[in-house]
Symmetry: C2
Subunit: 474 residues, 2 copies
């Protein structure tokens, strides 16, 4: 494909994308295809000779769109949001064109350096303690991970390396395997499944601790678990505090947990994957109080801050243990500037990495902090609108406090009734929700996801739920 065709093709794609997004409200949010729908629509093998780009454009509505779940429809209320914005799309075009692999500083200094500075911009927007920022002049700093799952795993592996080192210093006769068999980490029962998965991947025990009536992990619970495990000869080494759980957007008691971790010299990782974006607004920072006690902090601009996936921002007060845990340094990756700037390959699971800081740069500049805050506030306002509509209907109840853009609710009555309601909602296909369950109670989750969502959409979504609930009761 020559550059002339590229310009035509990309222009046609821009038109298509703008039409797709500006009219996304008109498309059914959930596809109705059955598994295996796509294979008969395309040839069995790659073509031998090149096709025209117009052939691909024609196939988009025939092959792809019937099978797309439209995450950016205002009718999409499942999971948590994933970001979509015009500035981020254009930033990725540039990233794809430069197409450098930023594993070391020399492999493309701009790729590393823009990331260092953008993570400082972002940390300042969230008012993170300066101990997390590269601009503070120490070892600290931020890094873009692919996902919060990877950030949790990276922190766990750093904590594991640190714990092994400490245990060996105290008991030189112990082998690594003996130490690892004694390590134990902690999170709330409401922590994301990826935390439990990080324990599996890292080969260490992870205890899921009970939460209080507001679904928060409390300091006392953690303290009791740590003491119990120490008595049993185990080595507590890692705690994940979740700010904004996936189940119900509860916030672990970070101040209390921080005190316990600091007193026990246990690594504290804060997973604020979804809710972290809200900390750009001063009025929500009370939920992040105690963050100065953490060793690492992570949130996903690719969820709620208009930066397209993948862009998971992670800060480490001291990356030394993470770097040491992963450090394998072959000659072909060495360079003369080593040590004077971060070689981000030591901060992450993969070796390769794209130039993702461009997305942060474009989005923060083209929205400006004020519009990013406005986006968060508007979506939280819409969640409260839905909450108020629901509270006017005595058949329903709110399952847990609405703080962010998520409303957890249920029909008063049995789990079965609520399961039926969800099945009707998703079956009808006008809106899309997913359920959750805490301590035996099944409930529905309505997340405000699309940046196109307006009051009218929320009223429509409520009407759909309310109407289907009537059918259910008949």
């Amino acid at each position: 494909m020559d550059h002339k065709s590229f310009k035509e093709f990309s222009q046609a794609m821009s038109e298509y994308i703008a039409n797709y997004l500006e009219n996304i409200r008109e498309r059914p949010v959930l596809p109705t295809v059955e598994p295996g729908y796509l294979r008969p629509l395309v040839p069995a093998s790659a073509p031998e000779s090149p096709e025209k780009w117009q052939d691909i454009m024609e196939d988009l509505e025939r092959v792809i769109m019937p099978g797309v779940t439209h995450w950016h429809s205002p009718r999409f209320h499942a999971y948590f949001p994933t970001a979509n914005s015009y500035p981020a799309i254009v930033a990725d075009m540039l990233s794809d064109a430069i197409a450098c692999i930023g594993f070391t500083w020399i492999a493309s200094p701009a790729c590393t350096e823009l990331e260092v500075v953008m993570l400082d911009w972002l940390g300042k927007l969230l008012d993170l303690p300066k101990e997390f920022l590269a601009s503070s002049g120490g070892k600290a700093g931020g890094v873009i991970q692919g996902t919060a799952s990877e950030a949790t795993l990276v922190a766990l592996l750093g904590a594991k390396a640190k714990a092994i080192r400490k245990a060996k210093a105290q008991n030189p006769e112990l082998t690594d395997y003996e130490i690892i068999s004694k390590l134990v980490g902690y999170c709330s029962q409401q922590a994301h499944s990826s935390v439990e998965r990080a324990g599996l991947l890292g080969g260490v025990r992870l205890r899921l601790l009970d939460t209080d009536e507001r679904h928060r992990l409390r300091g006392d619970t953690l303290k009791a678990a740590i003491e119990e495990d120490k008595k049993a000869g185990l080595i507590p080494f890692y705690v994940v505090a979740t700010l904004g759980t996936t189940s119900c957007c509860s916030f672990d008691a970070l101040e209390e947990i921080g005190d316990v971790c600091n007193a026990s010299e246990v690594w504290l990782h804060v997973d604020a994957a979804y809710a972290g974006s809200a900390f750009i607004c001063p009025e929500f920072r009370y939920l992040n109080a105690g963050v100065e006690k953490a060793d690492s902090f992570n949130f996903n601009p690719h969820k709620w801050m208009l930066v397209t996936f993948d862009c998971s921002a992670m800060w480490l007060k001291d990356p030394t243990d993470v770097i040491d845990a992963f450090n394998v340094d072959p000659l072909y990756l060495k360079h003369e500037m080593q040590g004077s700037a971060p070689d981000y390959r030591h901060w992450q699971i993969p070796l390769g990495r794209r130039f993702r800081a461009l997305k942060l740069w474009f989005v923060m500049r083209l929205y400006g902090a004020e519009n990013l805050r406005a986006h968060i506030r508007k979506q939280i306002g819409l969640a409260h609108l839905f909450e108020s509509l629901l509270l006017e209907d005595s058949r329903f109840e709110i399952f847990s406090e609405v703080t962010m853009g998520l409303v957890c609710f249920r029909l008063k009555g049995t789990n079965e009734l609520n399961e039926q309601l969800l099945k009707m909602i998703n079956g009808h296909g006008k809106i899309h929700l997913v359920p959750s369950k805490i301590k035996g109670s099944y409930f529905l989750r309505l997340a405000i996801c699309s940046r196109y969502t307006e009051e009218e959409d929320i009223r429509e979504s409520w009407k759909e739920i309310s109407t289907l609930a009537c059918n259910l009761n008949n």
Copy 2:
């Protein structure tokens, strides 16, 4: 940013990208900036109010380009290539616009299903045994990983889970930790650093085995190591065979290694990250002979097959152990179609995933198999051209056989002499190479990387090296 501005902005970016790539030969391949160059060029914090997209366009040459190492310059010969193509850039625009997270089938059926079919297309292009393909109707199939590092780690974790399960069946009294402390994996001393790193991350012992005079791991060496370890009470569980090592593009003896692995019931993973793309050409498939004995196979279309990073293609004959190793299944991710199509979240380290199959679809269709093959053949031809130029100069010697697009060479003489030459080459800044070292011998690596590379460029690169070598001898 409204859709009108987006269309203008993306059009301006297309123009910029086309100019950048079509004239990339004119830019110095290596930046001359010092660490820390970028911070003074941008404000200390994100702007409060939105800027104009034109402001960003103006900053590209001022802030970004001075710090870019131009991986797509025909003068870039470092590492291995990373891909860049117009069809892939446009595919990513669409992926960013749809912006679905394909962790389950229902989260966007098209995202999963196009991936299943594209990995079949790709597997057929490489002539992989049908036991690896989803179209064979069994459990097998392909998946897009972010990087070869992740594929190596995923295979290791699957192999580890399988080995633990087997050992427990034989000795139910053993704990997981006791079994893990006995596990041992193997690779060649020339395997990529990410293999050693996968061992560190997975918390298992990994032995780097000696290679023959052609830098290949041989079956006998592996067999002897396995027998020795078994005698010592260890449990051999995982072997990585590399096809196209990073150091010198050597090929492990896959047929022999496969026999040893199959006889010992050890998981065999094939890492063909770079060289795998060449197997789309029938004349290079002899290097992949024995692949039918492997459990998993991986190569990176994002290296040499014109699909932009990240797109690392991995096939598993039986993904069961990988899926079981990672499976954590919360209610909010369950859906009714579970089991009828792959839920790719169980096949990878992260939970989230982008719609990357679009890149494969666009690239295979818009190039056609014949042009992809032509690309590989041309680049291998250019490597042989450089080899022949070098062989005409009696000061130089070829370090290892040229099979793909990499030429490993050195000045006859000491390592120090070659280190000086490399320093002069990179210092002069006209071309960029990285070195490697095998068994004490330091050598220079010249990789054919850019799709813009022509014969004239190779003659220029050779002239630069040859001239600087004269200065060195003076």
